[in-house]
Symmetry: C2
Subunit: 229 residues, 2 copies
């Protein structure tokens, strides 16, 4: 089977930068390449776009196939099209940006046929293609976006403590925040539902659990409310 065109066409791929958060660090999902080029090198999950699927569908499909992941948040990041970015020829890649709750996915990624693993974004091996550029772009986007959109919650379990949330922001923004000011601000937004539950299995006073109220956020957003910091 082959396909013939009157003019030459680039290949089109999608690549995904999937972030997760655990107790130590902000993590990114990588796949070890099984074939040339860059065989054995770590790379972002991704692959060729099929003719009958949208770009976002392609990204979701590749994540499902390569790592068994269904992200909570998936959005287009940037399209990388430098002529020499792939040694096989002209390949243009539409990069996507995804956030997952690591607790849901830690096992999955490691047990798939292909070798997949979470790496700290501060300690990433040498990557295939221009994937280091893509990762850097995504990391920058995360740092910028987290401040004015409530996407941090996509990285936490559904029920979380305010301290967990604060740690999340501290890790992503790479600076320390004041506990009292942080709580004041978050609670004042009225986006967190205070649960009648506390965290379990801790050897000290247990903290109260909260849940992010997506519905209320959508309402407030329509009314012109702006999440910030």
């Amino acid at each position: 089977m082959s396909y013939t065109y009157e003019y030459p066409r680039p290949s089109l791929t999608v690549d995904c930068v999937v972030f997760g958060l655990d107790d130590e660090d902000l993590k990114v999902l990588l796949i070890k390449r099984g074939v040339e080029p860059f065989q054995g090198r770590w790379a972002l999950p991704g692959g060729f776009v099929r003719m009958d699927e949208s770009l976002e569908d392609a990204a979701r499909r590749e994540l499902q196939e390569e790592a068994g992941i269904r992200p909570n948040l998936l959005e287009q990041l940037y399209t990388f099209g430098a002529p020499e970015r792939d040694p096989r020829g002209r390949v243009v890649s539409v990069a996507y940006f995804a956030l997952v709750k690591l607790s849901d996915h830690r096992v999955h990624a490691a047990t798939d046929a292909r070798e997949a693993a979470w790496f700290s974004v501060y300690d990433v091996p040498k990557l295939a293609f221009d994937h280091a550029d893509i990762l850097a772009t995504a990391h920058q986007r995360l740092k910028g976006k987290v401040r004015y959109q409530p996407i941090g919650f996509e990285l936490l379990p559904p029920k979380f403590t305010l301290t967990q949330l604060q740690r999340l922001y501290e890790k992503i923004l790479e600076r320390e925040l004041d506990k009292r000011n942080f709580r004041k601000k978050l609670l004042a937004m009225d986006l967190l539902e205070e649960l009648d539950e506390v965290e379990q299995d801790v050897s000290h006073r247990a903290a109260r659990l909260y849940r992010f109220d997506h519905k209320k956020y959508k309402q407030l957003e329509k009314a012109g409310f702006n999440f910030e910091l």
Copy 2:
């Protein structure tokens, strides 16, 4: 001449949303299509990406060819890849966002071989393909971006009055601003060079001219300064 591949490939195009500003309104550049599909319909300037040029180079080339325009600012906007967006088959388009000083380009665009014209963004004819979506995305980006990056200056002549600048923001943001507060804020940023010149040919007191200091902005930006509103 023909090109054969083992797997099918989408076509890849770039489309450009070029904004300009004149005394009345925010304008966008459109080209009248001379061929099917959508012959005679207005569309964004754009075309196919060549195998040896980057995406941005393709966007610049198309703008030059179709409208004789070299934009002051050109950045990638979003990639549109819905399977049915082009009746000719699968065509994925990388959209670019551009700003020009209309005074430089008003004539050029109208005198080129192809029919090109500036339309108010509030009164655009029915567009070809999904170009209305692309335009809407670009317009939204402009509104968002203008508030926290000093890109408005790319729409004005090199020397401008504070009132012109204020009108620009009012048109883009679609709300009125307070004159004193606006001046206070802009001048406090220390990014405008006060010239020893005033505007000419006005039938009232002439306003002082200013110039945007790109060099100083780059310095301040490195030092962590954030332009805002």
